[in-house]
């Protein structure tokens, strides 16, 4: 079994995902696949890509479900990927040390060279975050784009995970959740960000921001007639240049062009 870092730094890199504005477009999932297909865990093999049951490795999958009944319910788009737990069961069950948690920033990774493909980690992870690559015979997973976030070959502003960089609605944020002063920590505090299934006691790092309460626009307080107008009054002919019905007096106010 694999141990967790003994002298872990306070840094806890992770994602904050805003369910209030995620429209379920799958941009993050596909850009993740595109980056990682040629990245640290390359390739993200697709079996039968043009066949009856295409089955590929994805580090990020979007689920859509409904909460609540009828018109008062809500359609929720829910992106799911590794939560980079502080006490990840997928690491502690690993018999070879292939699954490990980085001491420096808390990212959970798999070393493909020492993974034996026993799949214990995928059984241990309650979040379904691990993806088995049948061709390579190893487990793969979200790396938080380990080959992007400190990559000196990329401009500084691109050193974020691909999913964050590409999200059209800006629903994804990346940062240090171990630093209470970081932008992501403040966002979580402000918006009541929550961890998934805390009862599993794996201490996930990623946070989800819940949908906000729907904006309730104020209605006009302008004086409206108490009842719908009398029809023949509203359609009454106003005499030429005259005033017409009082109900429509507002139409006759002086105008300038």
């Amino acid at each position: 079994m694999t141990g967790l870092p003994e002298n872990a730094a306070a840094k806890k890199l992770g994602l904050v995902i805003d369910l209030d504005i995620c429209v379920g477009c799958h941009a993050c999932a596909v850009n993740c696949k595109e980056w990682n297909d040629g990245g640290h865990s390359a390739p993200l093999t697709d079996e039968e890509p043009y066949g009856p049951d295409p089955l590929g490795v994805w580090f990020n999958r979007i689920h859509t479900y409904e909460a609540g009944d009828g018109p008062d319910g809500r359609t929720v788009h829910f992106p799911r990927s590794c939560l980079h737990c502080e006490e990840p069961a997928c690491v502690t069950v690993c018999p070879t040390g292939a699954s490990y948690k980085r001491a420096a920033d808390g990212i959970v990774l798999v070393n493909a060279d020492t993974c034996i493909g026993c799949k214990l980690c995928s059984w241990a992870c309650p979040y379904g975050a691990r993806e088995y690559d049948y061709a390579d015979g190893v487990m793969k997973k979200c790396t938080l784009c380990i080959d992007r976030i400190e990559n000196r070959n990329l401009p500084a502003e691109d050193r974020v995970p691909a999913c964050v960089s590409t999200c059209p609605a800006s629903a994804r944020h990346f940062g240090d959740l171990g630093d209470p002063q970081s932008d992501v920590s403040r966002l979580v505090a402000e918006r009541g960000g929550y961890a998934l299934m805390p009862e599993m006691e794996l201490k996930p790092v990623n946070r989800y921001l819940p949908p906000r309460a729907p904006a309730d626009a104020p209605a006009s307080t302008a004086t409206a007639p108490a009842a719908p107008p009398v029809t023949d009054e509203t359609t009454a002919r106003a005499p030429a240049g005259g005033t017409g019905s009082r109900f429509l007096d507002w139409v006759d106010r002086t105008l300038s062009r």
């Binding site: 043009y50 409904e66 390579d136 380990i146 080959d147 691109d158 429509l248």
Partner: protein, 978 residues
């Protein structure tokens, strides 16, 4: 900073700074119509990664699922590899490879025979065309009026209603003011149009937390899922809902009258003289200018004068200063009074429309009050001085922060034009067109409503061997402009601009195959199409369309549509139905142009255009369609493409044309870096190095308006002068918003029997009823002839966001997200029908039946079912395996949609909007019948074979392995198992 290779305890050495690519090239995405800027990373000559370009005005660095799947699109196994000639019967999919010389010689011979006898016998229709300024120009040069792209079956109702009403439109010609809006009302936008800008805008809007977002849509998915309020309206009734909102605003007097008086024709006087040829037309003075009643002087004066106090209601007697029909009984009535009469009628009250729309009257009243509150009690004032059209200086800009957006849900109904016009009326009443917080025009719009030119194609404009005397698409202003003969018969094969579809601004691609097959109004010889899947998801009544494409004349044995030329990059369903295939490149292998001359990518703060550049070279014997078109132009001797000796004017092909073609002096396909000094934008001499300047700038050009030019563009002196200088408008006059549409009244009068160009009798009621100078609501036509008891359910489709407007639903990655489609249905309604999740059903319309699996959901109008469009595929097409779910579980709803309405006086109209000809896909009514024995998929239709050059698709893709370090065992084909 630690070393690149950092030892992480005992576990692994991770390279934190691997080189990403050897080279990065910018270009423009083509995975949908959004046209985002992309950066393509190349490593060892292969495409490593595609990302959004942060500098680009459309997407500002983000990229959607389709754009990110571009790699797989480029590597699709369905790519065509060489020109092909049909050898088996049409539809068999049997082809032989031929050389480009042979292919182009064949096409030239077919086209030349037509051009020098009767050019109308070429029907040239381009589907998902992003180069319409070239294709339309080519058609004009060829001399055929029979040209359009796919707008007629997409969203011409939205586009035409906007252009005729406010001189702009939603999506391409306008956008919400995301920054300032306080209330955003979205109608019938599924997961589409715009793609990234709307997602970005909604994200911004909701994150700022200052606005309410209301989505009016029968289905609560996509954008509607994050709306603050979802209004699950019954399909086809949006017009009633909007007119009830208008009723409420008028009833409560919450209307921006000053805005109407300054910027619209609300005060223009309309002649009230029923039973005469001028009834309902504007009262014009002797100089031809519309008149208003000035309450200061008691006179009828030029409505454009700024020194009048115009009456908005009343009835005024006419006199000799305003000549016209009607004699002594004629009166003059402000357009606004007619509007009051129309919409204050109790039939448009919230209570009257509640049952039909499925929206409670109190909800309608509340939304009207919320709109009014946002517009008038949350008024915005920007400290931005500006000068209006009349030269008057204003110290601030006033904003009515209500914005709206509408798209295909409004458009794809037979009442869509009028509904969309009603939405624009609502915007005008609130004073929220091009003001801070409202809807904002994107340049080159606004233009006069409607703008020029008129469509070409009248009998005298079409001559054998000559270019046509005008472009095939344009804007009519009355019956005189129609393309009909003296008997009222259509002159175009699609019957655009005829009495069938008088305002057909985008043509009617969906009628071409039927009409060509029937020889109605005349037979054609050559059908030439580009990127249009007419034998599948781009046609209504797909099954019969396939029969028409393959039908022969029993007397001659010849196909009724004799010759079909088709260009596509992929083996789509349409390939099997063509005789000659001209294989196109992928979007990463070509030059292209997103031009201000057709469909630009501007935003409200400035104009923009863009190019595509080839980022990789084709590895097959394929050519970019636009290059082929220019080559054919030379071979055919079209004067714009070759000189009198037959030498090409653009020997460098399409890129040469892009830089050097001039449509008018100083105006070309691209606006940036023109002139000898390469520093002119808009107008300027052609610059042979223009494309290099574009590439240096990320393959786009973006102009920026001054702060003074950014709002009230329709009446803003600084903007109008600039627009005239740029060549976007012919003159810098004020653009008056058309609350009351005189062109609509001209057609109505013709339907009533007035005027010199009259519709044949069988058209008259329809024209008289559906055309109206003020928006009307009539039930979708399907309701007239389909028994609502037998077919009680409305059926809709939408494209998923990951596939919207994409030619790539066979994409290896995207098909893992949406590989087959179910029939979605309201849970309570479904359970009422005895249905449960996963049940097999027959979906039946009066025109056909398809089988599906049901999925029940909460967020769906109870009388509506829907599915993802274009997921269901023909077996064997797109090089998918014969047991692919797309053709074995998925279905295509198009089989159930009729392309013709039932006979009326012996004639069958297209299933389309009677004004624009927009395909009425969403009028469909069905019933759903549980059937445990239903066989799913594409039925018994024969699987299409792979054409020559299209090889067997891979059974495993390990595309990215090639980018691993040389020593990695994971580079091996098949991985560890290999």
């Amino acid at each position: 900073m630690p070393d690149d290779i950092r030892s992480d305890e005992k576990y692994e050495n991770v390279d934190l700074s691997p080189p990403v690519s050897d080279e990065v090239k910018t270009t423009t995405c083509y995975m949908c119509a959004c046209r985002c800027g992309i950066k393509v990373h190349l490593k060892d000559g292969a495409i490593r990664y595609i990302e959004g370009n942060k500098e680009h005005p459309v997407n500002k660095g983000v990229l959607c699922a389709k754009g990110s799947a571009g790699i797989m699109q480029h590597h699709s196994p369905a790519k065509l590899a060489q020109p092909l000639r049909r050898v088996g019967p049409r539809g068999s999919g049997e082809f032989e490879p031929i050389s480009w010389d042979e292919a182009l010689a064949t096409a030239t011979q077919w086209l030349s025979e037509v051009r020098y006898t009767d050019p109308r016998k070429l029907a040239f229709f381009t589907g998902r065309d992003q180069s319409q300024s070239l294709t339309g120009f080519w058609a004009t040069q060829f001399g055929t009026p029979n040209h359009a792209a796919h707008g007629g079956f997409c969203s011409v109702n939205m586009a035409a209603a906007g252009i005729y009403t406010i001189g702009g439109s939603f999506w391409e010609f306008g956008e919400p003011d995301w920054e300032h809006t306080r209330y955003f009302l979205m109608f019938g936008v599924a997961e589409d149009h715009d793609s990234n800008p709307i997602k970005a805008g909604l994200g911004k809007l909701k994150t700022a937390g200052k606005a309410k977002f209301v989505s009016v849509n029968p289905v609560r998915t996509g954008y509607s899922a994050i709306a603050d309020e979802w209004v699950g309206i019954r399909p086809g009734t949006d017009g009633l809902f909007v007119m009830a909102l208008i009723h409420e605003l008028l009833r409560t007097g919450q209307v921006d009258l000053e805005y109407l008086a300054r910027y619209t024709n609300a005060h223009w006087l309309v002649r009230h003289a029923p039973g005469t040829a001028d009834h309902g037309l504007f009262v014009r003075g002797r100089g031809g200018l519309p008149l208003a009643y000035d309450r200061k002087t008691g006179q009828l004066l030029d409505a454009g004068r700024t020194d009048i106090d115009p009456a908005m209601r009343g009835r005024f007697s006419l006199h000799e200063s305003a000549p016209g029909d009607g004699g002594d009984n004629a009166e003059a009535v402000p357009a606004f009074e007619l509007m009051l009469e129309r919409y204050l009628d109790p039939r448009y009250s919230p209570d009257a429309v509640a049952a039909r729309t499925g929206i409670e009257a109190d909800t309608i009243r509340r939304i009207a009050a919320e709109l009014a509150h946002a517009a008038f009690e949350q008024e915005i004032t920007l400290d931005q001085p500006w000068t209006d059209w009349a030269g008057r200086r204003h110290e601030t800009m006033t904003g009515r922060p209500v914005s709206m957006h509408a798209m295909r849900g409004i458009s794809a109904h037979s009442n869509g034009f009028q509904t969309c016009r009603a939405i624009h009326l609502l915007q005008m009443l609130l004073g929220s067109i091009d003001c801070p917080g409202g809807f904002r025009y994107k340049p080159p719009f606004p233009r006069p409503a409607p703008p020029g030119p008129k469509p070409g194609g009248k009998a005298h404009q079409v001559k054998a061997g000559s270019p046509m005397g005008g472009p095939p698409l344009g804007f009519v202003t009355g019956p005189d402009d129609l393309l009909v003969d003296e008997a009222g018969t259509a002159l175009r094969i699609d019957k655009a601009y005829s009495w069938d579809a008088p305002v057909a601004a985008h043509g009617l691609m969906h009628t071409v195959i039927r009409n060509a097959w029937a020889g109605d109004p005349y037979p054609i010889e050559v059908l030439f199409m580009f990127m249009a899947n007419m034998s599948w998801n781009s046609s209504m009544n797909t099954s019969e369309t396939i029969e028409m494409l393959t039908d022969t004349d029993p007397q001659t044995g010849e196909y009724r549509i004799p010759k079909i030329i088709y260009s596509d990059a992929y083996q789509s369903e349409m390939v099997a139905y063509a005789d000659l295939i001209l294989p196109d490149t992928t979007y990463l292998e070509r030059w292209d142009c997103i031009s201000l001359l057709d469909r630009p990518i501007s935003d409200a703060d400035g104009p923009a255009d863009a190019i595509r550049q080839p980022v990789v070279a084709p590895d097959r014997d394929v050519r970019p369609f636009q290059d082929v078109l220019i080559d054919l132009g030379v071979r055919l001797g079209l004067p714009a493409f070759c000189d009198e000796d037959g030498n090409p004017r653009y020997p460098g092909g399409y890129p040469d044309y892009l830089a050097n073609h001039e449509r008018a002096p100083g105006i070309g396909p691209l606006s940036g870096w023109r002139g000898e000094e390469q520093d002119s934008h808009g107008r300027g001499k052609p610059n042979p190095d223009q494309l290099a300047r574009y590439i240096e700038n990320g393959c786009f050009w973006k102009g920026e308006f001054t702060p003074e030019q950014r709002y009230y563009k329709h009446a803003n002196r600084a903007y109008l002068d600039h627009a005239e200088q740029m060549g976007w408008i012919a003159s810098a006059d004020q653009i008056v918003l058309q609350l009351y549409s005189e062109p609509m009244q001209r057609f109505k009068l013709a339907g009533q029997g007035f005027g010199s160009v009259l519709p044949p009798v069988r058209y008259r009621d329809r024209i008289a009823e559906c055309f109206d100078p003020l928006p009307v609501w009539y039930a979708p036509f399907e309701d007239d002839h389909t028994d609502p008891a037998a077919f009680p359910i409305h059926a809709l489709t939408q494209r998923p966001m990951a596939m919207y407007h994409s030619w790539g639903s066979q994409n290896a990655w995207l098909r893992q997200i949406h590989g087959w489609n179910k029939l979605y249905m309201n849970r309570k309604a479904g359970e009422g029908h005895g249905l449960a999740d996963g049940d097999k059903v027959r979906i039946e319309s009066p025109y056909g039946s398809v089988n599906a699996v049901v999925a029940l959901m909460e967020g769906c109008n109870p009388d509506t079912v829907w599915t993802w469009n274009a997921i269901g595929k023909r077996r064997g097409a797109w090089n998918l395996s014969k047991d692919a779910p797309e053709s074995n579980k998925g279905f295509l709803l198009n089989h159930l949609i009729t392309d013709l309405l039932p006979p009326r006086d012996g004639y069958r109209f297209a299933n389309a909007d009677p004004i624009t000809g927009q395909a009425a896909w969403f009028d469909l009514r069905v019933r759903v019948v549980k059937d445990d024995d239903a066989v799913l998929g594409d039925g018994n239709r024969k699987a299409l074979p792979r054409v020559p050059g299209v090889g067997r698709a891979k059974r495993q893709s390990r595309y990215g392995a090639q980018f691993l370090p040389k020593g990695s065992w994971r580079r091996k084909r098949g991985g560890r198992g290999a």
